[in-house]
């Protein structure tokens, strides 16, 4: 027991937050699942390696370079919640990652140390194309249950009633990796940054999570020589910033996408976002299913009806069921506000 207490305290002291993009306290989430086990007989663990956000590659990076630490993090979760209480551990990977990394992960799992979890691990993949919404934790739970992939109403939260209505600990791969680092006293508040786009040195980098965007670009020798802007936190849902707005840390899933200001076709970029959301909307709620479709339709018209355009953006933001629909306005609004409105002047 004392070991458990110390691990959860360590996680709390380290200030770990979920790395799926939501930023929820890891210690609180783990404790919530443990508390639910007082009433329910067993629980599940899900490792979320969906990485559906375009432009973010850090889960793949962890799977290829830090498989042992990731598995160790899962092992620690299994021990923390109680080995006998964990019925199964679902390892969810997108199709590409499964093909590339499953064999390596399986060989790590065959280590004697991990024999307790090896037998419980079920690899789950989505065979089709990348699905954005399957990264949303309750949508992922539906996917594993074989139901339509769409988010669930919350509450109840997965911690109390998740997979098959049992308590479920669901964390991103980076979170399990971080827990492992914390337990081994190696965690120093760093996070993974994916740098992408019109840069010379694309890749995944590990730096302090307090670093600003411009520092990351500088350190990776990626400051463009041309006029540029960036999108942080994902190529779809991320916020768009000017080159003079970069003295702040990266938020959400840590990614920095660099765009060449002159070479970027404004209409193409907006259409890309709208098309992405239209294709990825699961269809569950009116605002997102219909709103993303109508926005895409509008973007294909010669004369855009901007009144309707912004009405739809507002409704997506204010009335969508889940974070997917609510996030579409982020790139669109920030692009208009930070880039296009300045260009006009």
């Amino acid at each position: 027991m004392s070991k458990n207490i110390s691990l959860i305290n360590k996680i709390e002291n380290a200030g770990l937050v979920g790395r799926g993009g939501g930023g929820f306290s890891v210690a609180k989430k783990w404790q919530a699942v443990k508390d639910s086990l007082k009433e329910k007989k067993f629980a599940y663990i899900i490792i979320n390696g969906a990485e559906g956000e375009p432009g973010v590659k850090k889960d793949g990076f962890i799977l290829s370079h830090y498989g042992e630490e990731l598995i160790n993090g899962v092992f620690l979760a299994n021990e923390f919640l109680g080995d006998k209480k964990i019925k199964n551990i679902y390892f969810f990977l997108n199709h590409e990652y499964y093909k590339k990394y499953a064999a390596g992960l399986k060989s790590i799992l065959s280590l004697k140390k991990y024999s307790r979890i090896e037998s419980k691990i079920i690899f789950t993949i989505k065979s089709e194309k990348l699905s954005y919404i399957s990264g949303e934790e309750s949508a992922l739970i539906n996917l594993i249950e074989g139901k339509k992939v769409e988010p669930r109403l919350k509450p109840p939260y997965p911690a109390s009633s998740g997979l098959f209505n049992m308590p479920t600990l669901i964390n991103n791969t980076e979170t399990f990796y971080n827990v492992s680092r914390v337990e081994r006293n190696k965690f120093n508040g760093e996070r993974f940054y994916t740098v992408n786009g019109d840069v010379k040195h694309r890749g995944v980098y590990l730096y302090s999570d307090e670093m600003t965007i411009s520092e990351v670009l500088k350190k990776t020798n990626n400051i463009p020589s041309f006029e540029y802007f960036v999108q942080i936190g994902g190529e779809a849902a991320g916020e768009v910033l000017r080159s003079d707005q970069l003295d702040r840390p990266v938020e959400g899933a840590g990614s920095i996408m660099v765009y060449d200001l002159k070479k970027t076709d404004k209409n193409k970029l907006i259409k890309y976002w709208l098309n992405f959301y239209r294709n990825e909307s699961c269809g569950n709620c009116t605002s997102c299913r219909e709103g993303t479709h109508r926005l895409w339709e509008l973007s294909n018209q010669k004369e855009i009806d901007f009144e309707t355009f912004w009405d739809l953006i507002s409704v997506l933001e204010e009335a969508s069921f889940c974070g997917l629909g609510r996030s579409l306005p982020v790139p669109i609004r920030s692009y208009y506000l930070n880039i296009l409105s300045i260009l006009k002047k």
Binding site: E280, R289, E290, S314, F321
Partner: protein, 587 residues
Amino acid sequence: MSLKINGKKINFKQGQSILDVATQSGFEVPALCHHPDLSVQANCRICVVEIIGRDNLFTACSTIAENGMDILTESPRVKKARKVNLELLFGQHVLKCATCTLRYNCELLKLAAKYKVDIKHFKNRKVKRKTYKFANAVEIDGSQCIDCKNCINACSEVQKINYLKMDGVGINQEVVPVLDKDTACIYCGQCTLHCPVAAAQEQMAWAQVELLLKNKNKVVVAQFAPSVRVSLGEEFSMPYGTNCEGKIVTALKKIGFNHVFDVNFGADITTITEAEELLERLKNKKSVFPLMTSCCPAWVAYVEFYHPELIPNLTSARSPQTHLAGAIKTYWAKKQKIKAKNIIVVSIVPCTAKKYEAARSELKLNGQPLVDFVLTTRELAFLIKKNNINFNQLPDSPLEKLFNNGSGAAAIYGASGGVMESALRSANALICKSSKNKTCDSHLEFKEVRGLAGFKEAVVNLDGKKIKVGVVNGIGNISKVLPTIHKYHYIEVMACPGGCLGGGGQPIPTTKAIRQKRLEGLYAIDKTRTTRRAHENIEMMEYYNWAKNNNLSAQVLHTKYKATKSSILSVKKNSKNPILDYVSFRC
């Protein structure tokens, strides 16, 4: 605990949703996908409200009320979001208002008026969607569907049939039948009852009936079912459970029906046929038990597909609508000197599966169906409104002679447990009549089998013999009972919750509270009838004995069943340009 809605302080109980709190305190919050029978989905996004101090809007149906919340249900933000969401919904709901049975109480149109919605803001994207037709009973028109999934949930959560699913993703998703050899539609129509926009609806027959009413060579006879009389009034803002049988007769005559009869008379025929079968089976030790009711055609469809081994358990007694139609086309036809083939019998029932039953090959007389057309309660309401009949002001009309309006036992056919109680009333009285046992208890009421519980059971004393009876209220409860079914002597099953009063063809909305009111209405009728046992209905017994003496038992009293391998499905393309558009009528 308390919160504020539009500035007014309101107390509430922990765990209540904002929608419940608002509705109970008189604030109208519109909601389309919300239905008290179903789990909360929050996908239509129409019930959004503003909570002061919080970003975004919240769906009232899914947000639990919290102490101190300051809620606005009609703020400019809320109105705007509802307007846009409604415009988006209209962009996927092809307007077929002119022939839509929901047209006079269409929630979408009401909201469109309230929120000044431009219903043609977005070009409709669903015009090419298909319509799935389940036998001749129910259909789901993809071109009208707003993707709320209430139909799917009614089929899976309430009925536990799981015949419908959502296929595809995003704007390409579509409600489709599962093409699985172990699953079949039972035509109960609960999908239609829970659809807020009539995309799932009965396959309408009113237009064909209208044409026939103009045909002078045909005698068009209407017969209306027990539970229609306590639900139809809802369509005209009468209190729930109001008995309007007299007004129904007047309305049907006004619409143009030549004669109007009451299916309650048919229910008495069913009762006596079934009670005699029960007593007959009890006499013989080798009889198959339990005897099971068969007047619910969705239940029969269920047995024929899912449990054909139970076919010998089903009573051979026909259902009330077929019993009365048989009497009309033989006994009444003879007395009126009309050829059966010139008579058109139109049933008005709370049910969609009766459409399927009417078309069954076993229920034909000389190759012609006994019941020619079946209209739901909703279709009748539609016809009354379409003919501009002021239903509320109509005088009551009596029924024509020969076929009366049945015993009290017939009235309760519309409620779960009613068929069982009716049969027991007669069986008990008949057995005591011939019993030497002077203390034979021929009591009238069997209250143990009443009410809206999912399963009800009782031990009944029939002249010293204790028989075990069970009532399954809603097909969703059947799986719990099947494993122990052989412990019973007599089982009643109604596929719809509450029985026919909650049938798939009843007025929308139908909720548990409304079912309860309709139920009370039916039992109130039972109390007022001068005869309360089927076999005490003298006119009915005259007919019954006539049919038997004329060797018509097989043609008009009893029927057969057969195992089926699938339900009947057809897929129809929708016309690209529906002619019947919103523009063509004014509410």
